[in-house]
């Protein structure tokens, strides 16, 4: 199709030529080795690097823009535009970044510290989707062309973990095109950066038709080795069945969001293979354990306030059955309300027992509900893997302990506001942890709702003692003491049963069997890592 263009691109480096050639030889029947047709459920919402902190958007932008530090498939940090980072020896509130030299933007401009200062400031702007990740930053300053200092409000030992999706733009380009700030909706004007890019990333944007097709070609001037994939055609396909059909019919090469039920069948299909791996996201139920009365219950008090009922809930959930049937084996059942990637996770927290319905029913009766009680269970139906089916299964299990749950499953746009506005008694939520640290969970889910804390704390849980500890975590520089405090907090949270965890999500990518691509824990696969051959 676009072979002329390719020849031009991969002829630039001998290595690409070699790899592409080898791949071609290996895949006589497969796709064009240099072009990768990649499909997933949704498109990037925008190409503006700081407007939306959202999965598909960041995933696509990682191919065009780059961050200071990147996240490898094992969850560790790796150098990208920053080659070194450290807390300043003189001032524990200052982060020092040493930048990569010789990096060029797609338009040929040189990458310097000036661009980093500009980009971090842009990411902190009011209209930025990344503002919250940089809320502890006081100022960003350039020391020399390749050194940047970030001054924090207090010691922030884990700040670097927040940077894995904060992309670096070219200051000159942004100023020339009047995109100094991210999209402002109220202004009613479209930002140039929404559809135009100038990054340092491994691919340049060739064409883009939102929600139809985005074409990217390898950037010849990239500082890293030219990837095996020299052209990417990215197509969102919203319907699960159509997405799988497109792979089966050979119209796409890689499908990122594979429905769990299709994994086993695809594995047995000739010419197709599946890569699976854990995602850095856990799925759990939570409930209003604080109010005196529930909104939807048929009893006058709040059953979830009673430890017996919360214990009963932990006894009815059959995580193994959910894993085997609902998730088709594609999940990691766990009682710990955090994924294993996250600092603070322990094997003990993960452990769970077999369900005991008799004991659960007895506990419910003991709590003062001999006939059980009924309550609405809110569930999204378009957000997590098989979210609605998990809730449905849960309804059945709850029923065995005489808890009559009415399932209300609806679109995410209706579900999440219920949690934000405290209009739900009992709900399903999934939580990804981009910083790979427990503090991120505590801040949003455990801390009392006030200021920037507790926005997703739908349990109304409020423990001033814990709040103080959570706030202290942010500035602790002694990582050992900090880890101990995290463990303390988790002990209390587990004891109070704030969360009823179901499992950690697993990711599955399906691809032609001559393609190798590993699952990325944040579901942000990088096509630079693709290799061809079996």
């Amino acid at each position: 199709m676009l072979s002329k263009l390719h020849t031009g691109v991969f002829a630039r480096t001998g290595r690409a030529m070699l790899m592409a050639g080898a791949a071609l030889a290996l895949t006589m029947t497969g796709a064009n080795a240099e072009t990768l047709r990649w499909a997933r459920v949704a498109d990037a919402l925008t190409l503006d690097p700081h407007s939306q902190n959202e999965g598909p958007t960041s995933t696509l932008l990682h191919h065009i823009y780059e961050t200071l530090v990147g996240r490898a498939t094992d969850g560790t940090l790796q150098p990208r535009l920053a080659t070194e980072w450290m807390i300043s020896a003189e001032d524990p509130t200052v982060w020092v970044f040493k930048l990569r030299e010789g990096v060029k933007f797609h338009d040929g401009a040189d990458f310097t510290a000036e661009d980093v200062v500009f980009s971090l400031d842009r990411a902190r702007a009011d209209s930025s989707g990344f503002k919250a990740l940089h809320s502890a930053v006081e100022s960003v300053s350039m020391v020399d062309d390749y050194t940047v200092h970030v001054k924090m409000a207090g010691p922030s030992p884990l700040y670097v973990q927040n940077l894995t999706n904060t992309f670096i733009m070219d200051k000159g380009w942004a100023e020339a095109n009047d995109v100094v700030l991210p999209q402002n909706f109220a202004a009613g004007e479209e930002n140039f950066a929404v559809r135009n890019t100038n990054g340092t990333g491994p691919y340049t944007l060739v064409s883009r038709d939102p929600e139809v097709r985005t074409v990217m070609a390898a950037f010849g001037g990239h500082w890293d080795a030219t990837p095996a994939v020299t052209e990417i055609i990215y197509t969102p396909i919203a319907e699960a069945a159509t997405r799988v059909a497109a792979l089966l019919s050979g119209e796409v090469d890689v499908v990122q969001d594979v429905p769990v039920q299709d994994i086993a069948r695809l594995q047995q299909t000739d010419g197709i293979k599946i890569a699976t791996g854990p995602e850095n996201r856990n799925i759990f139920f939570s409930y209003d354990m604080t109010s005196d009365k529930l909104i939807s219950a048929n009893v006058d008090d709040n059953p979830f306030k009673k430890p017996e009922v919360r214990e009963a809930l932990s006894l009815v959930i059959d995580r193994d059955a959910i894993q085997q049937v609902v998730m088709r084996g594609q999940s990691q059942p766990s009682a710990a309300p955090l994924p294993p990637f996250v600092n603070g996770w322990t094997a003990e927290m993960n452990a769970y027992g077999k369900p005991d319905y008799e004991r659960a029913a007895a506990l419910v009766a003991e709590a003062g509900y001999p006939d059980g009680f009924s309550v609405d269970l809110h569930c999204p139906n378009d957000r997590y893997l098989n979210d609605e089916a998990i809730c449905q299964a849960m309804v059945g299990m709850l029923g065995r302990a005489k808890i009559n749950a009415n399932l209300v499953s609806q679109s995410r746009s209706l579900h999440f506001p219920l949690i934000e506005k405290w209009e739900t008694d009992f709900y399903l939520l999934g939580w990804g942890v981009p910083t790979f640290d427990s503090a991120y969970i505590f801040n949003f889910l455990v801390h009392t709702r006030e200021g920037s804390f507790g926005s997703f704390n739908g349990s109304r849980y409020s423990n001033p003692e814990l709040d103080a500890k959570i706030e202290a975590l942010a500035t602790m520089t002694d990582l050992e003491a900090r880890d101990a405090m995290i463990a303390e907090i988790w002990d209390k949270v587990m004891e109070d049963r704030v969360f009823l965890n179901v499992h950690n999500q697993m990711l599955a990518y399906a691809m032609k069997d001559n393609i190798n691509l590993d699952v990325h824990p944040e579901n942000q696969p990088k096509m630079t890592t693709v290799t061809f051959g079996n």
């Binding site: 069945a241 939807s296 089916a389 299964a393 309804v395 059945g396 299990m397 709850l398 029923g399 399932l407």
Partner: protein, 304 residues
Amino acid sequence: MNRLARMWDSDIAWSFRHSPVAIVATVVALIIIMGAVLAPWVAPFNPFDSASLNLMDGFTPPGVPNQFTGNTYLMGTDNQGRDIFSTILYGARISLFVGFAAVVFSMVLGIGLGLLAGWRGGWVDSLLMRIADVQLSFPSILIALLIFGVARGFIPPTMREEVAIWVLIVSIGLSDWVQYARVVRGAAMVEKSKEYVQAARVIGVHPTRIVLRHILPNVMGPVLVIATIGLALAIIAEATLSFLGVGVPPTQPSLGTLIRIGQQYLFSGEWWIILFPSIALLLLALSVNLLGDWLRDALNPRLR
């Protein structure tokens, strides 16, 4: 001749006896309807009782023992371990209820407004027919989506699930009243100008009585035809809305919801989850449609 014999001898009955298609369609429709109505007694399980389900029974192929529990199901089970056969019966119950109720709703509304327009004439007629025009050309599924949206806003969250099915009925029914109104309006206008009606009006017979005695019986034929086809359409519309995420809760699936769920397993090898409900829906809608076709021809004396 007694009543029964007279019915047996009527033209409709004769035409029915001589139409194999109509007979087969009636038998099929009756089997499904009876199965649905009697589901609590006929179905081996109650799939709407979530507490009775064993998740480990999920995805059991038809007639093959489950690998964990060893249970065997005639048509297999779905992703929640529900017996497909029972779920079809219970689901058809929901689908038929929604279908019938939507048809009754639109029929009552349509006949009422049609009579009003035809009888009163003037600006009432113009207004109603203008609304009908707008409604007719505004796509029915959009109307249903919008009504569902409105209802979601007005109804307190805790009651949404209970009223969801009624909202669904109104949504589907509301987009269908125009056809009835048109037919009835036409008939009302024709009858109104006839001498006996004029005479009855002169001697002071109440209009309601005239309408009920003379106009309604005249339009029952075409109304019945529209209602039959409308029933099939309503059942399909319910399924379509379910695909768009609007409809009955998944814990109490209709046939359409069942198909929407089963559709996810088309490529994964669990063909029975979609196949059996689809066949049931196809048979139901097809037989009702065929009956409507036959009825249309049988009631049209000029085509006999």
